[in-house]
């Protein structure tokens, strides 16, 4: 049994969700190898080799893989899969984009976003916005799995000393090309790995109010900033702030929901947080049904007061 883990990265650093995927891969039993496909990504391959429990790193460094285009990366993986019994990737937008393309080519039904590997070889995965946990077993000869990072501890970034082997694939398929990206650089912790998150909803009413009310509180707490779909749709904050069923899944130590009603699609993304705090002026808001501490208040008064008293 050997498992190949597709690393998520930006050509500079190994994405932390990869560490959770490695933990899940270890639970499958057998050796764990990591594939780093990128361009100018030596530092990522080196970092992957140091991760505890990684036996080997395959490094495909080529302009064709620099932007993780599914049309180029999927055939590379397919070409490597003869030697593997399972393929695992973190359920990041990159993993979700590429893995089904590999699975279909290999005639395998992928198992999406697992949160547990059970002793009998079955997997748990949330469905219906996390309201139904399905336990599934596959009859396919090989497994293709994406891993929800909040379901697994992160593998240690030190302790491994894997060899790094260069590999290559068919390269550029000619089917797609990268045009541009709008990726905001931020000093703040990354949403999916932050220990404290301050999230704002529709009640914030504008991007300016996010800056005025949410940011100072997040600064005080060293927190990442999240948002509901309503706040993103209205353009108060960028799309990558969205927490929920179809946005990011987070499980920080403390999640503070401000002016968010608590629709099931939002809860799906944050209800595994250790402590949930909610500030909402409606005492019947569903968010209070999952909150450890609830404060019924107008955010425009409560949030500045909270920020100033911290």
């Amino acid at each position: 049994m050997t498992t190949l883990v597709l690393a998520d990265h930006d050509n500079k650093e190994l994405g932390s969700a990869t560490l959770s995927a490695i933990t899940a891969a270890k639970k499958l039993g057998g050796d764990v190898h990591v594939l780093v496909a990128g361009e100018g990504s030596q530092a990522v391959a080196d970092a992957a080799a140091k991760v505890d429990g990684v036996a080997k790193v395959l490094h495909a460094d080529d302009a064709a893989y620099g932007h993780a285009l599914a049309e180029n990366v999927a055939p590379l993986i397919e070409g490597l899969m003869d030697g593997y019994d399972a393929l695992v990737a973190p359920a990041t937008t990159t993993g979700k984009n590429i893995l089904p393309r590999v699975a279909a080519k290999m005639d395998i039904q992928q198992i999406s976003e697992i949160i547990a590997v059970n002793d009998d070889g079955s997997f748990d995965r949330p469905t219906y916005a996390g309201n139904a946990i399905a336990t599934v077993k596959t009859s396919d000869a090989k497994k293709v799995i994406t891993v929800r990072a909040t379901g697994f501890d992160k593998a240690a970034t030190e302790g491994g000393s894997a060899s790094v082997e260069a590999v290559s694939g068919p390269g550029d398929s000619g089917k797609s090309s990268f045009v541009s990206a709008q990726v905001a650089e931020s000093e703040r912790p990354e949403l999916t790995s932050a220990s404290v998150i301050v999230s704002g909803g529709r009640a914030l009413q504008s991007g300016e109010n996010f800056e005025k009310y949410i940011e100072p509180l997040a600064d005080k707490l060293g927190a990442a900033i999240g948002a509901s779909r309503a706040a993103v749709d209205a353009g108060y904050v960028p799309n990558d702030y969205q927490v929920g069923q179809t946005g990011k899944i987070v499980a920080p130590e403390v999640y503070i929901a401000i002016g968010i009603s608590g629709a099931i699609q939002h809860l799906a993304g944050m209800k595994d947080s250790k402590t949930i705090i909610a500030i909402n002026k409606d005492e019947d808001a569903p968010i209070f049904q999952v909150a450890d501490y609830g404060l019924v208040a107008d955010l425009y008064e409560a949030v500045p007061e909270l920020t100033s008293k911290l």
Partner: protein, 249 residues
């Protein structure tokens, strides 16, 4: 340009799913069913491309039980020209859905297939990518902007770090994200008109696709329930709690 839009009949997004007592699945009897919300966005996008003169035909296709007819009618009322229903006894898994869609695509030869990024019942997020693989087409997943050009189509994608734009050769597969558009409500006259639009019916067997599931569901259970905690009377109490937890000094 011809556009194919696969639409899935799913539990309405406003309904809280209830697990069956015998843990075999979610109870869908007497539950409001609707078109998967991401598929509404897909139909809307196709309808807009047609209205803008960039597409000349929009075909909706649904796979599932006979009642998926209703979902197709919704798509027709939103502006699609005709429907295809592929009847199956059980809802097939994404790989089988993709295989069926590959057959339909071969028969229909569309320039674009626009799917939802994810069905809100199985939350798989696989079918579009699988269809692209089976056809050997390019894929623009999680799209928030679709711009067909002289050659190919530019797709802006919602990714973990923000947005990225790719140029795809056509024919192409696109999957929709929430910000692509705001789907219209079908007007009454359009709902009436949709009743006269043709729906072609077939079975998976007609297409020669094996829909036998690969996954066995051992059980479906409720997630651990989170108990409501306490209501705090004021901001000072909240500050004290945050200090107790060690997140504030």
């Amino acid at each position: 340009m011809k556009i194919l839009v696969p639409v899935k009949r799913v539990i309405d997004y406003n309904v809280k799913p209830r697990i069956k007592g015998d843990q075999t699945g979610v109870d869908l009897s007497n539950v409001k069913m609707s078109m998967n919300p991401f598929d509404e966005i897909a139909v809307e996008e196709a309808a807009r491309l047609k209205e803008a003169g960039k597409a000349d035909e929009v075909v909706v296709v649904s796979i599932g039980e006979q009642k998926a007819q209703e979902t197709l009618r919704t798509g027709l009322a939103m502006g699609a020209d005709r429907g295809i229903l592929i009847v199956t006894e059980q809802m097939p898994e994404p790989l089988a859905v993709a295989k069926i869609l590959a057959k339909v695509t071969e028969e229909e030869s569309p320039d674009l297939v626009i799917l939802g990024k994810q069905a809100i019942d199985d939350d798989s997020n696989q079918t579009g990518q699988m269809l692209a693989a089976l056809l050997g087409w390019s894929q623009g997943t999680f799209a928030s902007k679709v711009e067909p050009g002289e050659e190919g189509v530019n797709v802006t994608r919602e990714i973990d770090g923000g947005l990225e734009t790719l140029k795809l050769t056509t024919p192409a597969i696109i999957t929709t994200d929430l910000r692509l558009n705001e789907p219209r409500y079908a007007s009454l006259p359009n709902i009436m008109k949709a009743k006269k639009k043709p729906i072609d019916e077939k079975t998976a067997a007609d297409l020669g696709v094996d829909v036998a599931p690969r996954l066995e569901t051992l059980k479906v259970t409720e997630p651990p329930k989170r108990e409501a905690g306490e209501m705090v009377p004021d901001v000072d109490t909240l500050v004290a709690k945050l200090k107790e937890m060690g997140v504030a000094a």
